[in-house]
Symmetry: C2
Subunit: 490 residues, 2 copies
């Protein structure tokens, strides 16, 4: 079994003593405790859930300085970003508190009896939505707050009425222990059982596999690599009783920049995009990995300016040395598949330099290897002859969290076709700005067709994230005492 050890992401140095990975007994005990807490939590009121979620948000804020310092050491993401991420995480907890309290996702569809023969006549029916039960939550490395122990998956599952067992990410183990300690304190203060939010940890795959195989686990949520997500999805499906698996995997997030969008704003667009490519050292699932450009003089000027804008940028260190190695290998794979270098910078120590590559659309469409996500500050320019070929490029991408379209401000048949191509590929289509940055709102959709998500009808960010953990159940001819209960029936 791999050692579990906190590290300093900037130096690679191990910090403190090794942490104890969860044993099989620990994992089983965490799931059993979650199961034991499930009925009471499923029948808790919106107000009780809101009270917990708000106290967790407050707890995060109260420990802000210590948590951000620890996160910064373990991830190298920088304190400014991490303060912002903590704010977002607290905001998200409070938003799900409001949703749980207002109760909209638990609204009952009431279908009173209609007398007479079918198909018109029918008995009294009520459609409820019941919590699934204990959720296994797999934390991501690149958002140590917002997609980790107390992130959106945990918040939405708790708001839905489901206990959670978090598989902590080994990239920030000390932070995970600290945040879980905070959760345990809040649970205790609120008189809730510690099993409501359990945590297990380990550096290898064994811990997560045992967790997702446990018969009392009712669903799983994951944010991370395609490889890891697919392996866990296969586990979820090969259980004697398969369970829903919500995997938010990789994406290459094409940005289509039409010449008219670049004509008068070459500098502005190049600067904006260079910032997005290198933001957080490119370690975002919404990082713009592919730029689709149509042959035109403006395009050539834009590429030149983009190279210039990228060259001086020095991203910070990557989350782990392993991710740095994977980044270098990913760039090498793109080169091996026929991409050419537009900009290659050496970086500094464990921090890579930005990389800009280029390929023509025919090759991009023909070579699947060119459509693989490279996690880090790299982007691939794809040169298309015309709008029809841009559509072919998007079709070849197949599925992505986002597609960005710059330059479709006019309502033309070509632009409609392009928007249609984009909506067929992505969960979110942007018409301005850059895809990095995912707002926590009612209209957010963070999830797209394969391979962006294993469940493209669902979202892992935004209000509808809660819906993933509720299952519709129709009560037919329910007795009076049961009809009187709104929301979760029992």
């Amino acid at each position: 079994m791999k050692a579990l050890h906190s590290h300093d992401a900037r130096t690679g140095q191990l910090v403190g003593e090794p942490l104890s990975p969860s044993t099989a007994q620990d994992i089983d005990a965490a799931v059993e405790a979650a199961h034991a807490a499930a009925v009471d939590w499923a029948t808790s009121t919106g107000r009780q859930r809101a009270s917990l979620l708000r106290a967790l948000a407050t707890g995060l804020e109260q420990q802000r300085e210590a948590l951000v310092a620890l996160a910064d050491r373990e991830t190298a993401l920088g304190t400014a970003r991490l303060h912002g991420e903590l704010d977002r995480t607290a905001f998200q907890l409070r938003r799900f508190a409001d949703i749980a309290e207002q109760g909209r996702p638990f609204a009952v569809v009431d279908d009173p009896a209609v007398p007479g023969a079918p198909p018109v006549g029918h008995p009294a029916m009520q459609l409820h939505r019941v919590p699934l039960g204990p959720v296994a939550m797999f934390a991501a490395s690149n958002f140590p707050f917002a997609f980790s122990v107390l992130g959106g998956d945990t918040a939405s599952a708790l708001a839905a009425g489901c206990p959670v067992v978090v598989k902590a990410h080994p990239g920030h183990p000390a932070l995970s222990v600290q945040v879980h300690g905070l959760i345990c304190s809040v649970l205790s203060e609120q008189g809730l059982p510690p099993g409501l939010v359990g945590m297990v940890q380990g550096a290898g795959v064994e811990v997560g596999v045992r967790l997702i195989r446990h018969p009392l686990i009712a669903a799983a949520a994951f944010t991370g690599s395609t490889r890891g997500g697919l392996a866990l999805e296969a586990e979820a499906r090969s259980r004697p009783r398969p369970i829903p698996f919500y995997g938010e995997l990789g994406a290459i997030n094409p940005v289509v920049a039409l010449p008219q969008a670049l004509a008068t704003r070459v500098d502005e667009m190049a600067t904006l995009l260079a910032g997005s490519i290198t933001l957080g050292c490119g370690q975002f699932c919404t990082n713009p990995g592919v730029l689709v450009l149509v042959e035109a003089p403006e395009t050539d000027a834009f590429v030149t300016r983009l190279v210039e804008a990228l060259r001086p940028l020095q991203p910070h260190a990557m989350l782990t040395a392993g991710m740095r190695k994977a980044f270098d290998a990913g760039v090498a794979d793109l080169l091996g598949a026929g991409a050419q270098v537009l900009l290659s910078t050496a970086g500094q120590g464990v921090a890579p330099g930005p990389q800009l590559l280029q390929v023509d659309a025919e090759r991009f469409i023909a070579e699947a290897a060119l459509r693989e996500e490279v996690f880090g500050p790299a982007s691939l320019v794809v040169r298309a002859r015309n709008l029809a070929q841009v559509q072919e490029v998007l079709a070849a991408v197949g599925g992505s969290l986002t597609v960005t379209l710059w330059g479709v401000e006019q309502d033309t048949p070509d632009h409609r076709a392009l928007v249609r191509s984009a909506t067929q590929v992505a969960g979110r289509v942007l018409f301005a700005g850059v895809p990095t940055g995912v707002a926590v709102t009612a209209a957010q959709q963070h999830g797209g067709p394969w391979p962006a998500s294993t469940a493209p009808m669902t979202t892992s960010v935004g209000d509808a994230a809660l819906d993933r953990f509720l299952r519709p159940v129709c009560l037919q001819d329910a007795p009076a005492w049961l009809v009187a209960r709104q929301g979760v029936p029992c």
Copy 2:
């Protein structure tokens, strides 16, 4: 390749000339035609979709006599039932017409821009729901209208804005051809392309496999056996790009009859249940395959009366000789797993007689083979010692389309616990009556946890069936011309 031939279900005689199974070229052409129709249909108005669905309903009704006669010959389900099923199918088409016209599933979640920094500030966002594209629809044998060529899957996919390619069921091939001919006439009358609803046919698995593997198919809906459904789901998932697979598979639909429900109504309940077990020769996915009874004098009296009520009932012929063979084998498997005979009747020719078996709860929980669906007029009495053991029986079932609870009219902790167990297992929980009969309503939920459904958050009957074919897409900072469009963006 197996021969495709219409047959007389009562005699087993082949009728007419063999039908030509679809070739690989036929299948590809049907999918390509559906794909070619997809954009126009995705951007059609609710009124256009409603007009088509209503004309299809009227077409069914106009050809009622001929269609019912043909269906009766191919299925032996009887003209009374088949007229009722045709009524239901027309009702369902008109209901989805109303839904498409009223537009509720296409309502846009509008999130205007909020100024300021995140997490509070965010750009303008609109959440749309876009049709997935061509849907492969696998018809069932046991509902030659309601779950076949023009059944609920086709109606809901068309209402959602998706073309359909139906894989006809080889159990009623002549009827399928006739119904598809009707569809083609209506499409032509409405000036719609014939590719909007294509059909392919074949007696073996090759046709369905080629259909679901086609890269232009965007989703699949299936009603049928667990074995067939799992094989197709595996195909859907092993595509280079996996697609959503909505499989409504088998279920054993436990009916829990508590002693207090039987005390004063033994005759009534026995007659009701005997009718449900033998209805349509037991060929319903909601057939009550398991009766869970608690030891009590009323229970013994009930079992005695149930045997008496079942004994004289002679179900009609099964859909095919193969299904009759499978029924006999299924009953033999239950006996082999330790069930004992309460009633075994010989049947008449191709029509089986009702079978009632019995086993104790411990054995039922221990032996997975006792929890297998037996498709036909058989039911297994499971004798439990007390309510706690009833809950264990339900937990062992794991997933079912329905659970029926008789005798929980009082609000007691025991009854709450039982209702909770039932909602954890089933998509629909009934408190009176029998599970056969599935109303087409807003609150219907036809789908339950594994193994009842491959997608337990969705339903294949009722208004929400349409939602299966829409995917959420967020438009961020959409230009004015696009914001002005309500519903499908392009």
